[in-house]
Amino acid sequence: MQTHLSLRSLTGNEKPDKDVQALFATRPGGKAILFIHGFSGDPIKTWSDFHVLLPAAQNCRDRDLYFYGYDGLRANMNSSAALFRDFLDRLFQQSAEFVNHNLPEDAQRPNTFQYDDVLLVAHSLGAVIVRRALLDLTRLDRSWLAKTRLVLFAPAHKGASIADLALEVASSFRFLRFFGAVARFESPLIDQLKPGSPQLISLLKETELASQNGANLHLRAHQVIIAEYERIVENETFGSDPPPVTIPNTEHTTVCKPRTDFLRPFQILEKSL
């Protein structure tokens, strides 16, 4: 049985919708998984083959799958977070209108459709973008935040060294990273993601303050997954996040890429559903 409709870019020529791709469930259950890629990632390639494996999973059949896209190479971190915040706001506050705008006539959902459970799955820089957006939305007192949970792969919230990664992920020629010394890459993210940067310190302080006495549980990661051979991000625990799970024999860019012969990232995520 076909569980999801074809992959589609969201309607519209404006950011971020034009860069978001979605697999809508054929029998929706008010649930979704929203993937947010990392530094210089691609909405789909970062997570491949989640888009193939998840539709076939028993407990994912009624979930819409969103693959959020943004400029993770050159855009300012806080600006990306603000765009993502607005996107989340629309997704929750105008769910039926939002979804129906992107579905063909015969797949329209009732006007009462809404999301009750959205898993936010972020990789690397994506974790910082999501955390910043959730903090700002907490300040705006959005009641739907309790319907979100956070799963993080190789999060960059404690800092990252990204100049070399730019070369590794800017093309499909991964071996370019060996030739990084000859190139100068410029991006505001290099400073913003440095361990101990003002942006990251503020992110941690604000999260701790907002989470005092067990408040705002949505700010605490449900699950953190890290790579065994990590050389891009700092693997320290952030605030009151749970201790991380390590996936053996993985690196920063492979820890979030399940395949039919490497199912560990998929299995971990599936347990969070």
Binding site: S6, K45, A56, S171, F178, A183, F185
Partner: protein, 311 residues
Amino acid sequence: MNVQQVNLQDIRSFYYERRTASTAAETLRQMITKRDHLQLANLLRDHRRKSVYSKRERYMRACVDDLLVCYNVLEISILTKFLAKPDKSVFWEEAGLILGNKQVRRYIEDFYPVRLPQLLALRLNGDVHHTEKKSGDLSSIMIQFLALDRGFIVSLNDSYLLSMLDSFTIQGYRFRDVVALIDNPKRFVRRILLPPAERSIPDRTLQELSHFFQFALNLNELLQSLDRYPLVQSEIWNHYSYWFEIIGQKLNRKLGAALDRFLRWEAADSRDQAALEIQEYVANARRVIELLTSTRYATSVSKQLENYKDR
């Protein structure tokens, strides 16, 4: 929800309405219903007999190519039961009218042979009813294929790279000029990291070269997962037969030349590791391009077509 109906709406939206396929269909339908045979024959002529210079004609022929791409996808989708069999709706009636026309048939059978529209024509004429019997997990394959093809259309279909691989010159640049840029790792890396707005034609072509190798690897992986469904496998490969069959040898030779240049690279640090990774990448990419440009995936559709034509 009638999922097959929604799938048809999705395919029509992306391949027919948003691209120029609908323009071609409307033009061809009008010419056919008005019995404008001479004009139709002129539009759909063999360019080797009479060249095509006029902008209008080139545009319309490009629209026809888009329509044939749409018919490819419809044929694959019916075979895999991603779509229901064609009914008497206006859309399918139009497809039947166009693919049943003598001039169109010459265009797709003799001048520029494309097998999937031929199969769809037979299907619409009631001569072919075949669908894949074991279609349980094929909706997932179709979703993968459509995602891959969407990426191809968005990133590569109108790319400088494919035009250059097809021996076109873009504002004075040929493919060999792009290959020459690979000689120098420093220059190559600098160009790859340029923001989109600052990329020149060669810079953009280098990006497209990276996309194309990734696309070829992904396509081959998808095709290999379809060994149990040789006809579906062959139909998906045929969808790209212009690149991998018609100009396949040229593509193989040119991409091979590009890949060879990477083998000359030497890293200042981690020399052995860098050399090993480059060798592995090049060997794998070469193997995949050779496989895709071979007859490995062509046979099933060719046989199927011959069988039906012999009846």
